[in-house]
Amino acid sequence: MNSRLLLAGFIIPMALIIAAVPSNTTKQYKLTANELLQEAVSYEPYIHPDNVADMLVQQDPSLQLIDVRTPDEFDKFSLPGAINIPLSELLADQYVDILDQDVKMNVFYSNGSLNSNEAWMITRQLGYSNNYVLQGGLNYWAETIINPVPPSSTSPDEEIAKYNFRKGASMALGGSVEGNTAKSAIPAKPVITSKKKKKRVAGGC
């Protein structure tokens, strides 16, 4: 009888505890190959350069550009406000707080999109959210933002907008990663913002 009471006295309180606590929903992340494929083909991680440029121009504080190229390449050229996390250093302890957070929107970029894709996949596999990839990388950035090809039948508004956009972008390029140079580019930026809106309307029509 005693052993029965002992058993009941142990198991029933344990069951009461497990019934009372909320169930653990944290997933020890490991995406299966299939799940990762699903995410990769859904284009969920890709952010178009227009959107990134727009956020840069509007000084959106939630944007965090992350350059996954080597420090040498980063020193030569980088997008404004970007920080450098070389792909080989991605898993270093000091970057965990940057990569694993739910406040900012991290956008990986590299020359093409291969390395940034790899960075995204690794962080995704680790279960980090809010990480994205700059679509097409810096090459596509140069095509669309720095040297936009004017469409054959565009309104003058759009051309001006694109010209201003390019000017704004090259201004941003002139500065280095430092915050103060980015601030010096502010006066030019509100102008660009208003033109950008026009461009959007024109595009919509």
């Binding site: 198991i11 029933i12 069951a15 497990i18 019934a19 606590v21 909320p22 169930s23 653990n24 020890q28």
Partner: protein
């Protein structure tokens, strides 16, 4: 951390080694608890000995609560645990065949090997029947393949079906189990048998 195989902490080969060791331990405890006696096993159907019910339900609720606590502490990912998929008709038919065989033969598959290992001839005969059954099932598979695969339900959970938390379901099962233990011991007193 867990499950160890799914998270590639151990290989499937190492897993087999663990399975072997756990299997030996399981058999040892079964034998020690008297599960190699078909009279004792059959007792659960007649009410004079409900040790089978008590042992297996105790194991089930212990494992259930253990898994839920491991999951709570983040030591195991329950979504990666393999759960037998349910094919409703074959599950029912299999349960009936298994139950009938249990009453007739006095063993379930695991305990028959337990009995055979201590030299019980009825257990050995039971194993022959078991292998015969496997053979007939395998050879005649095309005949009952449609029935076998009918009414596939995926991996349903009672807690999901009832829309309650796993933990609450566990508490209900624990209380039901203890209720059954109590009824079982009452039955043992009600239908006593001197020797078996």
């Amino acid at each position: 951390m867990g499950p160890l195989v799914a998270n590639e902490i151990i290989t499937t080969d190492t897993n087999l080694v663990f399975a072997f060791l756990i299997g030996i331990g399981f058999g040892f405890v079964l034998e020690g608890a008297g599960f190699s006696s078909s009279r004792k096993l059959a007792g659960v159907f007649y009410g004079y000995d409900t040790v089978v019910l008590k042992v297996f339900f105790t194991a089930a609720i212990t494992a259930m609560i253990g898994l839920l606590f491991l999951s709570l502490f983040g030591w195991i990912d329950l979504s990666l645990i393999y759960i037998n998929p349910t094919f409703l008709y074959s599950a029912i038919a299999g349960g009936v065949i298994m139950g009938a065989g249990f009453i007739l033969g006095g063993f379930c598959p695991g305990t028959s090997f337990c009995g055979a290992s201590i030299g019980k001839i009825d257990a050995m005969v039971f194993i022959v029947g078991l292998i015969l059954g496997i053979f007939i099932f395998g050879e005649g598979y095309p005949l009952w393949e449609d029935f076998y695969k009918a009414k596939f339900l995926g991996i349903p959970k009672i807690s999901e079906f009832m829309g309650i938390k796993d933990g609450l379901m566990a508490l209900i099962i624990v209380l039901v189990a203890f209720g059954m233990f109590w009824i079982g011991e009452w039955a043992e007193k009600k239908f006593p048998r001197e020797e078996y």
